[in-house]
């Protein structure tokens, strides 16, 4: 008996070591990702400094001009437009799910949201290109535009906003509901003045995560936005996002051009991390735990 228990103790020790090594491997993965992005981006950073990405007159890789600013503005415009549309629709979806729909409908609606979240981005791109773009083109040629990108991105992030809002709204304590009801408030007032303010932190941090997703999205944006490098001046302008630029040019980029694409990737990652950091700060400062939303 004693022998058996020492053997099993030894198995436990080995298991613990192996699993610990795996954990270390995961932590190392982040170091590896950052290291390789930096390593590949280094030549262009070293030869001209970071500022050249913002100062150069436009993006002309053949002439060694790597101005990313037009594409940064395009990316920001897309993500901002998408979240402005997706936030009200997503929160309304969450309210519908929790307070308006009968249980059976709510179940189906949740299934629909999950289905929407599971549609591959390339399929959204295909749909946007063949259905949405022609409709926009009848108002204003060429159709592939900032507007098309915003609309497709909106659809893609509605599930994220809705599901994080559901988590935040259902974490509101029962007492608040009961108190509001006891005051004789209508359902609209209960929701707008009591429940949403109580769930504000969770909703906002969910919206930030959704914005980060929109910024990082590549394929759908690549397919519907038109990919002309220019600072957007109207909704109907064809524009190129930072992500789309990487996907378009990686295939043939060499030396400094390739390095600046890696720098773009690094910049994108930093922005997305910044948003995620703010989101987690908001949740933490409110002392509420947001369910895993992505």
């Amino acid at each position: 008996m004693a022998k058996a228990s020492t053997r099993s103790n030894r198995t436990d020790t080995y298991l613990s070591r192996i699993l610990g090594a795996m954990g270390l491997l995961c932590a190392l993965l982040l170091v590896l990702v950052v290291f390789f992005l930096l390593k590949e981006a280094w030549p262009v950073v070293q030869s001209g400094g970071w500022l050249r990405f913002f100062h150069a007159q436009g993006w002309y890789p053949l002439e060694q001009l790597f101005g990313m600013l037009p594409m940064i503005w395009a990316s920001i415009a897309m993500a901002l437009g998408a979240i402005l549309l997706a936030l009200p629709i997503g929160v309304a979806s969450a309210l519908f799910l929790l307070f308006y729909a009968p249980p059976s409908v709510a179940k189906i609606y949740r299934l629909l949201l999950n289905l929407l979240a599971g549609i591959p981005s390339v399929v959204f791109g295909l749909w946007g290109l063949t259905e949405l773009v022609p409709i926009i083109a009848t108002w204003h040629a060429p159709g592939t535009s900032l507007l098309a990108a915003i609309l497709v991105l909106t659809l893609m992030i509605i599930p994220t906003v809705a599901l994080t809002s559901v988590a935040a709204l259902s974490a509101v304590p029962k007492e608040l509901h009961a108190g509001a009801q006891a005051l004789g408030l209508t359902r609209k007032t209960r929701i707008m003045s009591v429940i949403i303010p109580a769930a504000k932190a969770g909703i906002i941090s969910g919206a930030l995560l959704a914005t980060a997703r929109a910024l990082g999205e590549t394929m759908a944006v690549l397919m519907v936005a038109g990919n002309v490098v220019q600072t957007p001046s109207s909704l109907f302008d064809p524009v190129r996002a930072l992500t789309a630029n990487i996907a378009l040019e990686m295939a043939y980029a060499m030396s400094d051009h390739r390095a600046s694409l890696f720098a773009a990737g690094l910049l994108l990652t930093l922005i997305v991390w910044g948003l995620a950091l703010i989101a987690s700060r908001i949740v933490k400062s409110n002392g509420k735990v947001l369910a895993y939303a992505k």
């Binding site: 990702v33 979806s93 519908f96």
Partner: protein, 287 residues
């Protein structure tokens, strides 16, 4: 408030309800539009020969047989790498480390940071590390490993949350029976956390199968039948992208491929669910 009559308040309440319903209806109708579009335009082109034959004329005619094989191989590599490491790290985080110790917190934060990296950046990393540095080139192996890196954080986090949610009585019970920790993990805790593991697996499979951006520069564009894992292979999602953007007259084939892709994702999800259900329910009762 004497100026606002009760009927006004009731009207505002009703308008608000209508607005909420309208938003829900909008989301539902758009989803039906997207899915209906894919099904109507895609299903009519699906034949047995489309699914089995090789693409020809840049994908305009022929089928997607070789592309399906590449897609499944990439998926197998990704899951083969991500599942053992993911389960291992999840078990380690929830069972072997002191909760909120500095090291486990560091690993946890690292995972959250990794989960936030956009997929195109994983593509850049995979290209620089697996394809060039490790010399795997444009291959199914480097594509699959890149996807493994991408799905690992979310898989670990869901498994870990499932394991931590297992009631402590189960651990104490196993200990009281004289089970070693390894045995308790294998026979008690993992089966008890099965729903979360399935959820993590489904999320991972969904992401990996749908992914395009991370694969363009890692597993490549070649649409021939892959001879080994070191050959380049075109994933289904990359095929759809290529057909709709770079091949004029490829829309029909693109829609048919999109239909197959969505069907594949649903099929893989249900299979994963039933497989793990059966596997875990057998062990928790029989052993």
């Amino acid at each position: 408030m004497p100026s606002r009559s009760a009927s006004n308040i009731r009207l505002a309440d009703q308008c608000f309800s209508v607005l909420i319903m309208a938003c829900a209806a909008f989301v539902t109708i758009t989803l039906i539009w997207v899915l209906g579009d894919i099904v109507i335009k895609g299903a009519s082109h699906i034949t047995w020969s489309f699914i089995t034959s090789e693409p020809s004329d840049a994908g305009r005619s022929g089928g997607i047989g070789t592309i399906l094989v590449s897609t499944l191989l990439i998926l197998c590599v990704a899951l083969g790498a991500a599942i053992p490491i993911g389960l291992g790290v999840a078990v380690w985080l929830s069972e072997f480390t002191v909760q909120h110790s500095r090291f486990s917190n560091t690993v946890g934060t690292t995972l959250d940071v990794l989960a936030g990296i956009p997929s195109i950046v994983y593509g850049l990393f995979g290209n620089a590390f697996f394809s060039l540095y490790l010399g795997l080139g444009f291959s199914i192996l480097s594509g699959g490993l890149t996807l493994a890196c991408m799905i690992l954080p979310i898989f670990i986090r869901t498994c870990e949350s499932g394991l931590s949610a297992v009631n402590n009585d189960w651990r104490k019970g196993a200990q009281a029976l004289g089970m070693s920790r390894s045995a308790a993990i294998w026979h008690v805790l993992l089966p008890a956390a099965a729903p979360a593991i399935i959820a993590g697996l489904i999320l991972g499979i969904g992401r990996a199968t749908a992914e395009t951006a991370a694969l363009i520069f890692t597993s490549g564009y070649v649409d021939r039948m892959p001879g080994s894992l070191l050959d380049s292979g075109r994933a289904l999602a990359v095929h759809i992208y290529d057909l709709s953007m770079n091949v004029t007259g490829g829309d029909n084939a693109a829609y048919a491929s999109a239909f197959v892709l969505i069907t594949l994702i649903i099929l893989l999800n249900t299979t994963a669910q039933s497989l793990i259900d059966r596997w875990f329910s057998q062990r928790i009762y029989a052993s």
